[in-house]
Structure formats: structure tokens, C-alpha cells
């Protein structure tokens, strides 16, 4: 699997394959949401039922993991999991997955990291926030700081490593199949099913779950 190609520059910003594929994934997610939620009625049609199920499932998940008082995070988490689900399964429709680039996953993990710090600060106040670094004992302060800084690293590396590892295995499989005469079409199907659909959806779920756990853990 090759690294993301560089397409050009706009105002000094480098436009790589990752950026373009992120736009495509965002467009797919936005069009999907638009198609599911246009002309909503009191008695729902098929599309509206799908949209309502998504929202209800996410609401229940947030209520269970974060608590009933933090329901305001449900829209963010639903959009996060939608974007991740679309971009992790991008290998099926022939795109290089944007999350197989460390820049994309680090950006997502930093969003979680800053949300963790900000909402921890907001709900505990200055004293409580600073005091939480001295627990359970004051001399554990460096360990606590390192542990806090390790969260975005482990979050981003987990997603990146899983997606890139899956992509490399698929690329190796395709290069091995290139010399094969019989059934080179059918063999990749189970591998695509595992590495793109199962692993991709599982990783997007796990990223969202861990974000929820970190944020709610910092708040209470």
C-alpha cells in the first residue's frame, strides 16, 4: 500500500489524497443524511425509520455510557461514528481510506483530547481540574500527565494501525492474486468483508466508545 499521493497546493496548504478522500467521505455522509431525513412525516417512511433508529441507538448508547445528564454529546458522537464508518469502509468502493493516514486520525484524536480537557475543566472548575492530576497521591503527578497525553496517541495509533494494516494485507493479497488465473475475482471478497466491513465498523465503534468514556470520565 502506497502512501497518500500529493495532488497540489492551495494557499500553501498541501492537498493530498487523504484530504480529497476525506471530502468524498464527508460528501457521502452528508448526502446519506440528506436522503434519510428529507420530507419527514409524523408517520415515518422507510428512510425516516432508518434515521430515527440511528438517532435512538446513539441516544441509548450515550445515555448508558456517559449518563443521562450528558445527552448533549449524542449529536457529536453520531456524526463522528458516521464519518468514521464511511471512511473506514472506503476500501470497498476503491478509495484509499482517509483514516489510513496518521494526519486524519491524529486530528480526530486531538478533537477528543481537547474536548476531554475542556469539559473536565468546565465541570470540575479550576481547583478540581488541577486536583484531579494529584490523585490518588501527589507524587503521581508526572504519571498522570503522561497518561493524559498518551490518550490521543493511543486513540489515533489504534485506528491508524488497524486501517493501514488491513490495507497492506489487502494490497499484498491483490499483488499475489495478480499471477493467478483461476478466480482472482472471488477470493478477495471474504478478506474485504473482514478488513473493510467488520474491522472498519468495529474500529469506528471503538473510537467513538473510547471518546465517550474519556469525556465522561474527565467530567465526573
Amino acid at each position: 500500500m502506497e502512501g497518500p499521493k500529493i495532488y497540489g497546493e492551495i494557499f500553501g496548504l498541501t492537498i493530498t489524497q487523504t484530504v480529497v478522500n476525506t471530502w468524498i467521505c464527508m460528501a457521502i455522509a452528508i448526502i446519506l443524511c440528506y436522503l434519510l431525513t428529507r420530507n419527514m412525516k409524523k408517520i415515518p417512511g422507510k428512510a425516516q425509520v432508518i434515521a430515527e433508529t440511528l438517532v435512538t441507538v446513539m441516544d441509548n448508547l450515550v445515555a448508558q455510557t456517559m449518563g443521562k445528564d450528558k445527552m448533549k454529546f449524542a449529536p457529536y458522537m453520531l456524526s463522528l461514528i458516521l464519518f468514521l464508518a464511511v471512511s473506514n469502509t472506503a476500501g470497498i468502493y476503491g478509495l484509499r481510506s482517509p483514516t489510513a493516514d496518521l494526519n486524519c486520525t491524529i486530528a480526530l484524536a486531538l478533537m477528543t483530547f481537547f474536548m476531554t480537557q475542556f469539559f473536565g475543566f468546565k465541570s470540575k472548575g479550576v481547583g478540581g481540574y488541577l486536583k484531579s492530576f494529584l490523585e490518588p497521591m501527589p507524587f503521581l503527578l508526572p504519571i498522570n500527565i503522561i497518561g493524559e497525553l498518551a490518550n490521543p496517541v493511543s486513540l489515533s495509533f489504534r485506528l491508524f494501525g488497524n486501517l493501514l494494516g488491513g490495507g497492506i494485507i489487502m494490497a499484498l493479497l491483490y499483488s499475489a492474486l495478480a499471477g493467478l488465473i483461476f478466480f482472482p475475482v472471488l477470493i478477495p471478497i471474504p478478506f474485504h468483508f473482514y478488513f473493510d466491513i467488520f474491522s472498519g465498523l468495529l474500529q469506528s465503534f471503538i473510537f467513538t466508545m473510547l471518546s465517550m468514556v474519556f469525556i465522561s470520565g474527565a467530567m465526573d
Binding site: F157, F160, G161, N162, L164, F205, I206, L210, V213
Partner: protein, 99 residues
Amino acid sequence: MIGDLNMVDFLLQFLSQFDGIDVIKAFSAIGAGTAMIAGVGPGIGQGFAAGKGAEAVGIRPDSQSDIVRTMLLGAAVAETTGIYGLIVALILLFANPFF
């Protein structure tokens, strides 16, 4: 002792007949393979988590969805060290800072 050299000196002299870059490439490949030994730990951890999850589902089949969710979360966290090993291996192979 090989000739009048000890083992380390012999190895260094053996390696010095190759180009420096080639030696670095060879040892990077060996290092990448060695780094993937880290995959053993997550394998054990995830197997343990899955076993305990199966046990818990056997005891309480009605709360299966909660158990599966917690198990997947724990398995994902246990996977982190293996992913670190994978990333070190990938850096050594594809983004090596030494050549």
C-alpha cells in the same frame, strides 16, 4: 574464537565488507520482524477477554449485548500494544529514518 578474532569482532568485520546502507536495510528488516513479536501479548489478552466474555454470557444470557460491548472495548484497549509494535515495524520498513 574464529582465527584470532572473537565473535563480535568477527561479525563486525564480516559486516564491514558490505555497503553501509545494505547493512542498515538488512537489520531494519530483522527489527521489523522482531517488533511483531509484540503481537503475542494482545493475542493472549484478547483471548482471555473473549473467554471471560463467553463465560459471562453463559451465566447471564439476558445481558448479552452489554457483555459483548464491554468485551469489545476491553479487547480494543488490549490491542494497543500490538498496534504500537505494528507501527514500529511499518516505520522500519516504509518510513525508515536511517536511509
